[in-house]
Protein backbone atom coordinates (compact mmCIF):
# COMPACT_ATOMS: atom_id res chain seq x y z
CA UNK A 1 0.00 0.00 0.00
CA UNK A 2 2.76 2.41 0.97
CA UNK A 3 4.76 1.66 -2.17
CA UNK A 4 1.69 2.14 -4.40
CA UNK A 5 1.09 5.56 -2.83
CA UNK A 6 4.78 6.45 -3.12
CA UNK A 7 4.92 5.64 -6.83
CA UNK A 8 1.64 7.50 -7.41
CA UNK A 9 2.88 10.66 -5.66
CA UNK A 10 6.36 10.41 -7.18
CA UNK A 11 5.14 10.03 -10.77
CA UNK A 12 2.56 12.82 -10.39
CA UNK A 13 5.11 15.11 -8.73
CA UNK A 14 7.81 14.54 -11.35
CA UNK A 15 5.31 14.85 -14.19
CA UNK A 16 3.92 18.13 -12.92
CA UNK A 17 7.44 19.46 -12.28
CA UNK A 18 8.34 18.69 -15.92
CA UNK A 19 5.11 20.38 -17.06
CA UNK A 20 6.02 23.44 -14.95
CA UNK A 21 9.41 23.69 -16.59
CA UNK A 22 8.13 23.17 -20.14
CA UNK A 23 4.90 25.23 -20.07
CA UNK A 24 4.82 28.14 -22.51
CA UNK A 25 2.48 30.19 -20.34
CA UNK A 26 3.45 31.32 -16.84
CA UNK A 27 -0.09 30.79 -15.51
CA UNK A 28 -0.09 27.16 -16.65
CA UNK A 29 3.34 26.69 -15.09
CA UNK A 30 2.09 28.10 -11.76
CA UNK A 31 -0.97 25.82 -11.71
CA UNK A 32 1.22 22.76 -12.47
CA UNK A 33 3.54 23.85 -9.66
CA UNK A 34 0.61 23.96 -7.20
CA UNK A 35 -0.18 20.36 -8.19
CA UNK A 36 3.50 19.45 -7.74
CA UNK A 37 3.47 20.87 -4.19
CA UNK A 38 0.24 19.07 -3.29
CA UNK A 39 1.97 15.82 -4.25
CA UNK A 40 5.01 16.84 -2.19
CA UNK A 41 2.63 17.08 0.79
CA UNK A 42 1.61 13.48 0.06
CA UNK A 43 5.27 12.42 0.05
CA UNK A 44 5.75 14.12 3.44
CA UNK A 45 2.70 12.28 4.78
CA UNK A 46 4.26 8.98 3.65
CA UNK A 47 7.47 9.92 5.50
CA UNK A 48 5.41 10.08 8.73
CA UNK A 49 5.60 13.89 8.79
CA UNK A 50 1.96 15.02 8.97
CA UNK A 51 2.89 18.47 10.33
CA UNK A 52 5.18 19.13 7.36
CA UNK A 53 2.50 17.89 4.95
CA UNK A 54 -0.01 20.42 6.31
CA UNK A 55 2.57 23.22 6.26
CA UNK A 56 3.52 22.31 2.68
CA UNK A 57 -0.10 22.85 1.62
CA UNK A 58 -0.50 26.02 3.72
CA UNK A 59 2.78 27.75 2.89
CA UNK A 60 3.84 26.47 -0.53
CA UNK A 61 0.61 25.58 -2.32
CA UNK A 62 -1.23 28.35 -0.45
CA UNK A 63 0.78 31.44 0.35
CA UNK A 64 3.74 31.27 -2.04
CA UNK A 65 1.75 30.20 -5.11
CA UNK A 66 -0.94 32.82 -4.45
CA UNK A 67 1.86 35.39 -4.41
CA UNK A 68 3.20 33.99 -7.70
CA UNK A 69 -0.20 34.02 -9.39
CA UNK A 70 -0.89 37.53 -8.07
CA UNK A 71 2.34 38.83 -9.59
CA UNK A 72 1.73 37.00 -12.91
CA UNK A 73 -1.77 38.51 -13.16
CA UNK A 74 -0.45 41.97 -12.21
CA UNK A 75 2.29 41.93 -14.85
CA UNK A 76 -0.27 41.09 -17.60
CA UNK A 77 2.18 41.04 -20.52
CA UNK A 78 4.26 37.95 -19.73
CA UNK A 79 1.11 35.89 -19.17
CA UNK A 80 1.06 35.44 -22.93
CA UNK A 81 3.64 32.98 -24.26
CA UNK A 82 6.83 34.83 -25.11
CA UNK A 83 7.62 34.41 -28.81
CA UNK A 84 11.25 35.25 -28.14
CA UNK A 85 11.74 32.27 -25.85
CA UNK A 86 15.22 31.65 -27.23
CA UNK A 87 17.31 29.09 -25.44
CA UNK A 88 20.98 30.04 -25.64
CA UNK A 89 21.77 27.87 -22.60
CA UNK A 90 20.15 24.81 -24.13
CA UNK A 91 23.49 23.53 -25.38
CA UNK A 92 24.98 23.52 -21.88
CA UNK A 93 21.81 21.95 -20.48
CA UNK A 94 22.02 19.23 -23.13
CA UNK A 95 25.67 18.63 -22.18
CA UNK A 96 25.16 18.58 -18.41
CA UNK A 97 21.74 17.08 -17.79
CA UNK A 98 21.96 13.69 -19.58
CA UNK A 99 25.11 12.67 -17.63
CA UNK A 100 23.45 13.84 -14.41
CA UNK A 101 20.30 11.86 -15.21
CA UNK A 102 22.46 8.88 -16.11
CA UNK A 103 24.14 9.19 -12.71
CA UNK A 104 20.75 9.11 -10.98
CA UNK A 105 19.75 6.01 -12.95
CA UNK A 106 23.15 4.43 -12.18
CA UNK A 107 22.64 5.04 -8.46
CA UNK A 108 19.19 3.48 -8.75
CA UNK A 109 20.70 0.44 -10.53
CA UNK A 110 23.51 0.07 -8.00
CA UNK A 111 21.04 0.29 -5.14
CA UNK A 112 18.72 -2.39 -6.55
CA UNK A 113 20.16 -5.02 -4.24
CA UNK A 114 20.70 -2.91 -1.17
CA UNK A 115 17.82 -0.53 -0.80
CA UNK A 116 17.82 1.00 2.67
CA UNK A 117 14.43 0.00 3.97
CA UNK A 118 12.88 2.15 6.66
CA UNK A 119 11.47 -0.83 8.51
CA UNK A 120 14.93 -2.16 9.30
CA UNK A 121 16.11 1.23 10.54
CA UNK A 122 15.01 3.12 13.61
CA UNK A 123 11.36 2.89 14.68
CA UNK A 124 9.28 5.56 13.00
CA UNK A 125 9.03 8.83 14.93
CA UNK A 126 5.87 10.62 13.93
CA UNK A 127 6.53 14.27 13.16
CA UNK A 128 3.37 15.65 14.74
CA UNK A 129 3.01 19.34 15.59
CA UNK A 130 3.73 18.58 19.27
CA UNK A 131 6.90 16.62 18.56
CA UNK A 132 8.32 19.18 16.12
CA UNK A 133 7.39 22.12 18.39
CA UNK A 134 9.18 20.39 21.27
CA UNK A 135 12.42 20.44 19.24
CA UNK A 136 11.81 23.86 17.70
CA UNK A 137 11.26 25.64 21.00
CA UNK A 138 14.01 23.90 22.96
CA UNK A 139 17.01 22.66 21.00
CA UNK A 140 16.58 24.94 17.97
CA UNK A 141 15.21 28.03 19.75
CA UNK A 142 18.01 30.30 18.47
CA UNK A 143 17.51 29.19 14.85
CA UNK A 144 13.76 29.68 15.30
CA UNK A 145 14.27 33.27 16.48
CA UNK A 146 16.81 33.97 13.70
CA UNK A 147 14.47 32.73 10.97
CA UNK A 148 11.83 35.17 12.25
CA UNK A 149 14.41 37.95 11.78
CA UNK A 150 14.95 36.71 8.20
CA UNK A 151 11.19 36.94 7.59
CA UNK A 152 11.09 40.44 9.12
CA UNK A 153 13.91 41.60 6.84
CA UNK A 154 12.05 40.09 3.86
CA UNK A 155 8.86 41.99 4.80
CA UNK A 156 10.73 45.30 5.15
CA UNK A 157 12.68 44.68 1.93
CA UNK A 158 9.59 43.80 -0.10
CA UNK A 159 7.81 46.92 1.16
CA UNK A 160 10.82 49.13 0.39
CA UNK A 161 11.02 47.65 -3.14
CA UNK A 162 7.29 48.01 -3.75
CA UNK A 163 6.90 51.66 -2.77
CA UNK A 164 7.19 54.52 -5.22
CA UNK A 165 10.67 55.96 -5.09
CA UNK A 166 9.65 59.51 -4.10
CA UNK A 167 7.86 58.15 -1.01
CA UNK A 168 11.02 56.65 0.43
CA UNK A 169 12.05 58.49 3.60
CA UNK A 170 15.70 58.87 2.61
CA UNK A 171 14.96 60.46 -0.78
Amino acid sequence: MESILFYLFAVLMLGSAVMTVTSRSAVAAAVWLVFCFVNAAGVFALLSAPFLAILQILIYAGAIMVLFLFVIMMLQGPVLPDERERRPWSRIAVLVLPPASAAVILIAWLARGGVTAFSGAQPAVRGTAEAVAELLLNRYLLAFELISVVLLVAIVGAMALGRRKEELPWK
Binding site: S3, V21, A30, E85, T116, V150, A154, L161
Partner: protein, 101 residues
Protein backbone atom coordinates in the same frame (compact mmCIF):
# COMPACT_ATOMS: atom_id res chain seq x y z
CA UNK B 1 9.76 -4.09 -3.43
CA UNK B 2 9.45 -2.09 -0.26
CA UNK B 3 9.96 1.65 -0.59
CA UNK B 4 13.00 2.88 1.31
CA UNK B 5 15.36 5.81 1.69
CA UNK B 6 16.90 5.21 -1.75
CA UNK B 7 13.59 5.71 -3.53
CA UNK B 8 13.06 9.08 -1.88
CA UNK B 9 16.62 10.18 -2.67
CA UNK B 10 16.19 9.25 -6.35
CA UNK B 11 12.88 11.15 -6.48
CA UNK B 12 14.57 14.20 -4.93
CA UNK B 13 17.51 13.95 -7.32
CA UNK B 14 15.25 13.75 -10.36
CA UNK B 15 13.24 16.75 -9.11
CA UNK B 16 16.42 18.74 -8.53
CA UNK B 17 17.58 17.97 -12.09
CA UNK B 18 14.20 19.06 -13.46
CA UNK B 19 14.51 22.36 -11.60
CA UNK B 20 18.08 22.83 -12.84
CA UNK B 21 16.95 22.24 -16.41
CA UNK B 22 14.27 24.90 -15.97
CA UNK B 23 16.68 27.51 -14.60
CA UNK B 24 19.18 26.82 -17.40
CA UNK B 25 16.83 26.71 -20.38
CA UNK B 26 13.92 29.08 -19.67
CA UNK B 27 14.14 32.81 -20.44
CA UNK B 28 10.97 33.84 -18.60
CA UNK B 29 12.20 34.90 -15.16
CA UNK B 30 8.87 33.94 -13.50
CA UNK B 31 9.27 30.34 -14.67
CA UNK B 32 12.95 30.38 -13.65
CA UNK B 33 11.74 31.35 -10.16
CA UNK B 34 9.30 28.44 -10.12
CA UNK B 35 12.15 26.09 -11.12
CA UNK B 36 14.15 27.33 -8.12
CA UNK B 37 11.13 26.52 -5.93
CA UNK B 38 11.12 22.97 -7.33
CA UNK B 39 14.82 22.63 -6.41
CA UNK B 40 14.14 23.87 -2.84
CA UNK B 41 11.24 21.44 -2.56
CA UNK B 42 13.43 18.49 -3.59
CA UNK B 43 15.88 19.36 -0.81
CA UNK B 44 13.00 19.29 1.68
CA UNK B 45 12.22 15.71 0.64
CA UNK B 46 15.85 14.69 1.31
CA UNK B 47 15.69 16.22 4.81
CA UNK B 48 12.41 14.47 5.63
CA UNK B 49 13.64 11.11 4.23
CA UNK B 50 16.84 11.12 6.27
CA UNK B 51 14.85 12.20 9.31
CA UNK B 52 12.62 9.16 8.80
CA UNK B 53 15.64 6.87 8.30
CA UNK B 54 17.50 8.02 11.41
CA UNK B 55 14.46 8.32 13.68
CA UNK B 56 15.45 11.90 14.58
CA UNK B 57 13.04 14.80 14.08
CA UNK B 58 15.77 17.43 13.58
CA UNK B 59 15.34 17.14 9.81
CA UNK B 60 11.77 18.39 10.16
CA UNK B 61 13.07 21.55 11.87
CA UNK B 62 15.41 22.13 8.92
CA UNK B 63 12.49 21.73 6.51
CA UNK B 64 10.62 24.39 8.51
CA UNK B 65 13.61 26.74 8.15
CA UNK B 66 13.64 25.98 4.42
CA UNK B 67 9.94 26.91 4.20
CA UNK B 68 10.71 30.30 5.77
CA UNK B 69 13.68 30.87 3.45
CA UNK B 70 11.57 29.94 0.40
CA UNK B 71 8.82 32.34 1.48
CA UNK B 72 11.32 35.19 2.01
CA UNK B 73 12.99 34.43 -1.32
CA UNK B 74 9.66 34.45 -3.17
CA UNK B 75 8.57 37.73 -1.54
CA UNK B 76 11.83 39.59 -2.27
CA UNK B 77 12.36 38.03 -5.70
CA UNK B 78 8.87 38.81 -6.92
CA UNK B 79 9.12 42.39 -5.58
CA UNK B 80 12.35 42.80 -7.57
CA UNK B 81 10.64 41.32 -10.65
CA UNK B 82 7.74 43.78 -10.35
CA UNK B 83 10.23 46.64 -10.08
CA UNK B 84 12.16 45.40 -13.14
CA UNK B 85 8.89 45.11 -15.08
CA UNK B 86 8.03 48.73 -14.20
CA UNK B 87 11.38 49.89 -15.59
CA UNK B 88 11.79 47.63 -18.66
CA UNK B 89 8.23 46.38 -19.43
CA UNK B 90 9.60 42.83 -19.71
CA UNK B 91 10.43 39.81 -17.55
CA UNK B 92 12.53 38.11 -20.24
CA UNK B 93 16.06 37.78 -18.86
CA UNK B 94 17.52 38.45 -22.33
CA UNK B 95 16.29 42.05 -22.00
CA UNK B 96 18.18 42.58 -18.75
CA UNK B 97 21.62 43.09 -20.26
CA UNK B 98 22.47 46.70 -19.37
CA UNK B 99 25.45 45.59 -17.24
CA UNK B 100 26.88 43.68 -20.22
CA UNK B 101 27.00 46.70 -22.52
Amino acid sequence: MEVGLTHYLILAGALFLTGTAGVLTRRNSLIMFMSVEIMLSSVNIVFAAYSRASGDLSGHVFVLMNFAVAAAEAAIGLAILVEIFRLRRSVNVDDLNSLME
